[in-house]
């Protein structure tokens, strides 16, 4: 498969809209992940691209050619099934050979390729079979052969570690398409902010421009942020809180009373009450116990502006 273009794809099942207006392109050799909760339409979109579903509207282009009406057996795509879909009555070699036979690869060439793959498999069998390694292997093969890949998962760690770009889907809509780090640092909507990593999301009640940045009023209190916010909310990440030593002064400083404290190994998850509002904090250390008060501050850049989502 060379580059992939999806033009205004829409998929309806009866009255239910599974995908609404998915419009994107994937460059040749790019690894893109469709990420979202179950029922968000990511698998439907994948099936439309592989040819198993005909979209209600929109076109699919591969290498510049419109393949919307081409059946899956005639599309140059290779789908890896979540269930693996191995034929149980065939052994490993026969399973591998099936695809080559259908593609009418000559016998000698077929044997050569199978021997080489099976030799690799036998080597790999001695290594630990962690899901991580499968992930790394998929990525290696995809890079080596310059394959255009579309990966579907609801596991954000998997998506973040493998992808060139991630399309975050929610209720049939692609809410944001961006590189993993951009998604984390600049989530476009509340859904993305919450789905990629953890986030405290606050509605914006009012904002005033400052000489640099702006001052936004939220239920947690007033916050100074670097830019301006055009949407209905802002977010801040629980791990971005900086603990303030007693008496220290800072912009965006808050007092928080700990209502819940959970040690989870490399960090501590806290539920804290700030001006009557429960928020999340994630700290490497925390000498305080439940009921005690700590002080923290947020940098201007850590206040993330959000737009209206789906």
């Amino acid at each position: 498969m060379s580059g992939l273009v999806a033009q205004h794809i829409r998929m309806e099942f009866g009255t239910h809209t599974a995908v609404s207006d998915a419009h994107f392109s994937v460059a040749e050799g790019e690894f893109v992940t469709l990420l979202g909760p179950s029922g968000c339409g990511k698998t439907t979109l994948l099936k439309i691209i592989a040819g198993f579903l005909a979209p209600s509207a929109g076109r699919i282009l591969m290498g510049g050619v419109d393949v919307t009406d081409v059946p899956p057996e005639a599309r140059d795509t290779a789908m890896c099934f979540q269930s693996y879909a191995l034929f149980p009555h065939l052994d490993v070699r026969a399973n591998l050979e099936f695809g080559l036979r259908q593609k009418r690869v000559a016998h000698a060439e077929r044997s050569r390729r199978l021997d080489s793959v099976i030799a690799q498999l036998e080597l790999g069998a001695h290594l630990a079979k962690l899901r991580d390694q499968v992930r790394i292997e998929i990525r290696r093969i995809q890079r080596t052969h310059g394959l255009t890949a579309l990966y579907v998962t609801h596991d954000q760690a998997e998506a973040l570690s493998m992808s060139d770009r991630i399309f975050v889907m929610n209720r049939g809509v692609i809410e944001q398409e961006a590189a993993p780090e951009v998604l984390y640092h600049q989530p476009r909507t509340a859904f993305v902010a919450d789905f990629i990593g953890a986030a405290n999301i606050l509605p914006v009640l009012d904002q005033q421009p400052l000489a640099e940045g702006s001052l936004v009023r939220t239920p947690m209190g007033a916050l100074t942020m670097a830019g301006t916010v055009t949407g209905p909310a802002i977010a801040w990440r629980p791990e971005r809180a900086r603990i303030l030593p007693p008496g220290a002064r800072a912009v965006n400083a808050f007092e928080a009373r700990i209502t819940d404290r959970a040690f989870v190994g490399d960090h501590i998850d806290l539920q804290v009450e700030i001006n009557g509002l429960i928020q999340r904090l994630r700290l490497p250390h925390c000498p305080q116990a439940v009921g005690e008060v700590l002080r923290f501050a947020l940098d201007l850049e850590d206040i993330l502006p959000l737009e209206q989502g789906a």
């Binding site: 198993f52 269930s83 879909a85 099936f98 695809g99 593609k103």
Partner: protein
């Protein structure tokens, strides 16, 4: 441990009473020599010979019945499969409203006694003006009669065909035939064979339709056997006939058991 042992012994006893006793009696009766009858004061037949077997197997009437039965059974089984496949496909793979009710309805004919079906099927065949051979009339009626079993078995088989296997085959560029062979057939095969054998066995043993539609010109082993139960009832001859009727079926049953075991769904689940 002792409970298991007790249960095992009980099972053996029941098995013996259920199977070995009637079989043993049938075998003993089939060996009774014509010269000295087996009277109740003897535990075993006083004189034993294979005369009855020789007579029976040499009897041209039996030979015709054997040939009829063993031609009829595979014909009926193949006809049943042909008639079953579309229905089973629909019940197994097409979701529609009332599918469960349709499934139950397909089983309903089983509660109708064979004779009732036979009597009215004859009437129906007369009415539609069927004047063809007795053989085809009986074969078709058997196919119809045992359809519910085959539909039941094969609709489950069709359900077990995995959509991801079909899709994977398509994705790899497989033609419809290649798809059928790699994704459909392995899941359907045990069901196809099981349905074939069940109809085969049932057809061999079926009496009502074979008798009403077939007699007097068309005889099968059961009609011959029942005929022997009439005025000139000869128990040793009936014993030979019963064994001829039952033995191949026992062997077929054992094959069926093996096939149903190999239809274990975990084998077709794809994951180890």
């Amino acid at each position: 441990m002792t409970l298991n042992r007790a249960l095992f012994v009980a099972l053996l006893l029941i098995g013996t009473l259920w199977l070995a006793l009637p079989f043993g009696m049938a075998i003993l009766w089939s060996l009774v020599d014509a010269s000295t009858p087996w009277t109740p004061d003897h535990i075993l037949p006083p004189a034993i010979s294979l005369d009855r077997w020789r007579n029976m197997l040499g009897n041209p009437v039996l030979q015709v019945a054997l040939l009829n039965s063993y031609l009829l059974a595979p014909t009926a089984a193949l006809m049943t499969l042909t008639l079953t496949l579309p229905t089973a496909y629909a019940l197994g793979r097409i979701p529609f409203r009332g599918r469960e009710i349709a499934r139950m309805l397909t089983l309903l004919p089983l509660v109708v006694p064979g004779f009732v079906t036979a009597i009215f099927l004859t009437a129906l065949l007369h009415r539609i003006g069927f004047t063809g051979s007795r053989f085809w009339a009986v074969a078709f009626s058997h196919a119809l009669l045992f359809l519910p079993y085959a539909i039941r078995i094969l609709s489950v088989s069709f359900e077990q065909v995995r959509q991801d296997h079909i899709d994977a085959a398509r994705d790899l560029g497989a033609s419809p035939l290649a798809r059928f062979r790699v994704a459909w057939l392995p899941a359907l095969k045990p069901g196809l064979l099981a349905a074939f054998l069940i109809v085969f066995i049932q057809s061999i043993e079926e009496f009502a339709i074979a008798f009403i539609l077939g007699s007097p010109d068309f005889t099968t082993i059961p009609t011959l056997l029942y005929a022997r139960l009439g005025q000139d009832f000869v128990r040793p001859d009936a014993a030979v006939l019963s064994l001829i009727l039952v033995l191949p079926n026992v062997i077929l049953m054992l094959i069926l058991e093996q096939l149903l075991r190999s239809a274990n769904p975990s084998l077709s689940s794809g994951k180890g």
